[in-house]
Amino acid sequence: MGHVATSIDGMELVYERPRTLTDTPMHYCPGCGHGVVHRLLMEVVQEMGIQEKTVGVAPVGCSVFAYNYMDIDMQEAAHGRASAVATGIKRILPDRFVFSYQGDGDLAAIGTAETIHTVNRGENILVVFINNAIYGMTGGQMAPTTLLGMVTSTTPLGRDAAVMGFPLKMTELVAQLPGAYYVTRQSVHTATAVRKLKKAIRNSLEYQKRNKGTCFIEVVSNCPSGWKMTPKESNDWLEKNMFPLYPPGDLKVPRD
């Protein structure tokens, strides 16, 4: 890490990279939500002073390299197995803060069983679920959360329910499980949404400290490259098309 300026031409520095993020340019496409979510996670880790006690699990998908950016101990899981790997870590190190960071294909297709059972056991971890309704890393194929009629490289005529079934509302499923303590759906497409997500992450890690059970945050996100839109268009499209099926808000909040 090089010299960090504290003032430029007499101006005060009010915004900087958290020390918990490495000084590495991210590989994400312009306008992608991953970078924002990475940053929010690491901001919360820094603000809570828990860098030494946090262990993350990266998935397979665009965020497979999350460990290049987060300056914490991390493990890279096989596709879909992040929550099982996180279970193994948390059972050995119950006083550490453990999170998995997973996309829709990872968490809601190939890893559905691991996701459901991890939450059903009430593992004291945070699951961050990035839902952009597409497989970004492999080039824009259909995801379990792809909307009906949505064109992807494997649904060139749009997703047809008769052939491909329906978009899977994983967060609604998970919220039914007694092991889930806090389940919420957020986004990062506006400044207000970013602030709300940060609060949800903070709440989740505070609950984890108190061993309350699984906290599950879905982040409805965009994929400008996969959706073949500009970042601005993708955020508008997200609000208009994703939110009707995946509405933001809390699905399960603690009673105590």
């Binding site: 946090t54 101990d73 096989a78 197995r81 996180a86 193994g88 870590i89 059972r91 050995i92 059972h117």
Partner: protein, 363 residues
């Protein structure tokens, strides 16, 4: 050296193995029920909690091996167990663990296959165990017990090898060894030292760089370097090959067999010697590394070699590679959960001895 109890106990193979694992300082076990190894999970579920071992029944073998991945990466001494179909499901995780260089002990109480197969004992998983099993260039360290005593002792040896070489190790047993009861003198608690794990993901203090456990090396130049490190490790491992010989000094016919097959061969050797056929046995105790050098040396002193397995002929390929044409190598096996009888093996020995005699007459 591992210290042992003074008094023997009568125990089932699966239970002796589970008890030995606790005595070896097992910190976490993740598993899924499957016949004929469920007693391992059951024993640990009853005994583990009170003795400092985390025991969790996973939703699948797939989840179990990935919990093992996470727990090993977090620095713990970990074990899972299953039987053939379940071990197939774990291959993905084992490939990832071999690449990420994570130690663990996996127990395969081999049953007859392929497919769902049968719950009866078999050795059909030899290729899968010794040649990698999952994708990519890697090996497991493979130990092959042939008694309940070794079911217990090889747990200690398995952890030692896995942790000193940072590689998954497997105990390849079979349904009979798991289920049979025998006299066993158990290894003593606490006689297995812990190898330090500075690479574990336990949380990054300011004093070190972050630890990352991964099997992803997207640049081929880096991936090749990782492969070179693994291959160098496997070369070093060759020095750990273990075997046992029985009545080989004057043997004209050498049997090669492991596990349960080796016990059947012992009886067949007795029967053959009554008939005046000088027969001996080489029993590999490690299947990877395979005791090739020892076998090549013995091959020089005998007339012919017979490999006996409970499969269609798998280890016989490694036997042939080691013997390298010096002597004829024959194979006898039963498959699908059938166990060869000593008499069947004796028939093979007699036929081989006759062939050797005819050959001697001709030349």
């Amino acid at each position: 050296m591992i210290a042992h109890d003074n008094e023997p106990r009568l125990m089932k193979g699966n239970e002796a193995l589970a008890e030995a694992a606790l005595r070896a300082g097992l910190q976490a076990y993740f598993g899924y029920p499957i016949t004929p190894q469920s007693e391992v999970l059951e024993y640990l579920a009853a005994e583990g909690a009170g003795r400092g071992c985390i025991v969790l029944q996973a939703e699948s073998e797939l989840a179990a091996i990935n919990m093992i991945f996470g727990a090993s990466g977090a620095g713990a001494r970990v074990m899972t167990s299953s039987s053939s179909p379940g071990i197939s499901l774990m291959q993905e995780g084992l490939s990832y663990m071999a690449s990420a260089q994570l130690p663990c002990l996996v127990v395969n109480v081999n049953r007859g296959g392929p497919g769902l197969g049968t719950i009866q004992p078999a050795q059909g998983d030899y290729f899968q165990a010794t040649k990698g099993g999952g994708h990519g260039d890697y090996h497991l360290i493979v130990l092959a017990p042939s008694t309940v005593q070794e079911m217990a002792d090889m747990v200690f040896e398995g952890f030692r090898l896995a942790e000193s070489y940072r590689n998954p190790a497997m105990i390849l047993a079979d349904g009979a060894l798991g289920q049979m009861m025998e006299k066993v003198i158990l290894p003593k608690q606490g006689s297995l030292p812990i190898v330090p794990r500075p690479w574990a993901t336990t949380g990054k203090p300011p004093t070190r760089e972050r630890n990352i456990i991964t099997s992803l090396f997207i640049q081929p130049e880096k991936m090749e370097q990782v492969n070179l490190i693994l291959q160098e490790k496997y070369r070093r491992l060759q020095g750990e090959a273990q075997f046992e010989v029985l009545e080989t000094d004057d043997a004209e016919i050498l049997l090669v067999a492991y596990g349960l097959s080796a016990r059947i061969c012992q009886k067949a050797i007795e029967l053959a010697r009554v008939k005046g056929i000088k027969t001996g046995l080489l029993r590999p105790k490690t299947l990877y590394p395979f005791p090739s050098t020892a076998l090549a040396e013995r091959a020089e002193t005998v007339e012919a070699i017979l490999t006996v397995e409970m499969n269609a002929g798998q280890m016989v390929e490694d036997v042939k590679l080691a013997v390298n044409g010096r002597r004829p190598v024959q194979f006898f096996g039963r498959m699908g959960g059938m166990i060869p009888s000593p008499e069947e093996v004796l028939n093979q020995i007699e036929a081989l001895a006759q062939g050797v005699a005819l050959e001697a007459e001709r030349s």
